[in-house]
């Protein structure tokens, strides 16, 4: 685990291989294949990670475990998309997250469990029974 956290990993790592063992072993700052060794690329990786961490304040990782998972992921995609002015795919975001978290290991949010833990009958709100008036 230790050691690598502060240094930016330089050079084209074999990304596929790293992805396979989940996370935890390697530095969170590992380089994406596209960002080889130039300093600016490293910086942009750091920026990317910082922005992601910033975004996690709105979209907590724990929410990725519950029923809201996809909407939270969508929120992250949009957040990063706006910050870097390009599109992010869901996979990209998940891979980024994977540098910091093992999502599978997160305990799902009590609150989320709570939302749908009591059965209630559907009722159509009263407003549906009133004529739309102009």
């Amino acid at each position: 685990m230790g050691g690598g956290n502060d240094e930016v990993v330089v050079g084209g790592k074999d990304k596929e291989e790293e992805e396979q063992d989940g996370m935890s072993v390697h530095s969170p700052c590992k380089a994406l294949p596209s960002s080889a060794s130039s300093l600016s690329k490293e910086q942009s990786e750091v920026e990317l990670e910082l922005t992601l961490l910033e975004a996690l304040e709105i979209y907590p990782p724990v929410k990725l475990r519950g029923i809201h998972r996809h909407f939270v992921l969508y929120g992250l995609m949009e957040y990063l998309g706006r910050s870097f002015d390009r599109q992010f795919t869901a996979d990209e975001v998940l891979q980024l997250l994977d540098r910091f978290y093992n999502i599978e290991m997160l305990k799902s949010d009590d609150e989320d469990v709570d939302v749908l833990n009591h059965e209630e009958d559907f009722t159509l709100p009263q407003s549906y029974f009133e004529k739309e008036e102009e």
Partner: protein, 337 residues
């Protein structure tokens, strides 16, 4: 003014209890109960600096503890979806029962501000909604308490910047689909009929069709759309047994959903529409930036229009519902036919 403020006080009492039956000791809310809470920008102040959140000033909260302090009941509340650091003690006047009626109140309150501030997304459909919500709110007023109209004005004056969570999250369902929901209600609850299962197309198929259509048209942005559609599917599967069924449909559900079958591969657009009615309730647990929510809302509206366009193929006509044998056998056949 004098007499009206008197009335206001009376209706304030009403509002605080929110139709609840307070226990003998004067406690209005119980531990574990989920209610709505007013709160000022204070709560979001720190976050707002970081531009992290949409400005919600009515939140869904959960009561953690109830204590009598200096002869007044105090409630320790947790803002659902927020860090525990924001938990705090409040008195009953900050809390509202989480009822349809109170949500309507909030919507009405919010609507007034909407008019003042101009709307979020200037769509003509929403203007229409607003006027119908308006009418609705006024009707409620006359029904419940004549003084409330006045009170509401005071409220919106005092809490000018308050914006209701549920209102912001509301999704405007097109008129013909609203009609469909009412027909659906009538068939199931009044005529003891049900939608025959499995439906064709299923919710899954409808979602796929929509994604296919968008992919052909727009290419890349479909990744975002795809995620939203997955979110809808996930909500649908989880919410169907918990909140999308009328009582009379429960038996049918037991028979139709066996093993690990996903409801989205069995049920169709009739039940999917109901999800959109419930959507604000579910989604209020998600924190999202306003800009992102606006975009997502556009997608949801576009999806609803897609259903509307295909209403005749996706949705059963009211006469195509089947009589529910189970229910009608017990209750006496076809009482409405």
């Amino acid at each position: 003014m004098g007499s009206s403020s008197k009335e206001d006080t009376a209706s304030d009492g009403d509002t605080a209890s929110g139709g609840a039956s307070p226990s003998n000791d004067g406690r209005l809310f119980t531990e574990g109960e989920r209610v709505l809470a007013y709160h000022g920008p204070r709560v979001y102040g720190a976050k707002a600096k970081l531009n992290l959140s949409r400005p919600l000033y009515v939140s869904l909260i959960q009561i953690q503890k109830v204590e009598l302090r200096k002869k007044e009941w105090k409630y320790f509340v947790h803002y659902l979806g927020w860090n525990k650091n924001w938990d705090e003690w409040v008195s009953a006047d900050r809390l509202l029962k989480h009822t349809e009626e109170n949500l309507v109140k909030q919507k009405a309150l919010d609507k007034k501000q909407g008019v003042e501030k101009g709307t979020k997304s200037g769509r003509s459909a929403q203007t229409k909604t607003r006027s119908s919500a308006d009418t609705k709110a006024e009707k409620d007023d006359t029904k419940n308490n004549a003084a409330k109209g006045k009170k509401r004005k005071n409220e919106s004056g005092n809490e000018k910047d308050n914006v209701s969570a549920e209102k912001l999250l509301k999704i405007q369902i097109p008129a013909t689909l609203r009609k469909q929901l009412v027909d659906d209600w009538e068939n199931v609850t009044q005529k003891d009929k049900v939608v025959k299962l499995p439906r064709s197309p299923t919710v899954d198929e409808i979602l796929s069709k929509y994604l296919e259509l968008k992919t052909k048209k727009d290419g890349m942005i479909t990744d975002a759309v795809g995620e939203i559609l997955k979110g809808i599917r996930c909500y649908f599967d989880k919410a169907l047994p918990m909140m999308l069924l009328y009582k009379k449909e429960r038996q049918q559900y037991q028979e139709a959903i066996v093993d690990d079958v996903s409801p989205s591969t069995v049920y169709g657009a009739e039940h999917l529409l109901r999800l959109f009615v419930k959507f604000p309730e579910l989604f209020s647990y998600v924190n999202m930036e306003e800009e992102t929510w606006n975009r997502m809302q556009q997608t949801l509206l576009d999806f609803l229009k897609f259903i509307q366009k295909n209403q005749s193929t996706f949705l059963l006509s009211p006469s195509a519902y089947e009589s529910d044998k189970v229910v009608s056998d017990v209750k006496g056949k076809g009482k409405d036919e």
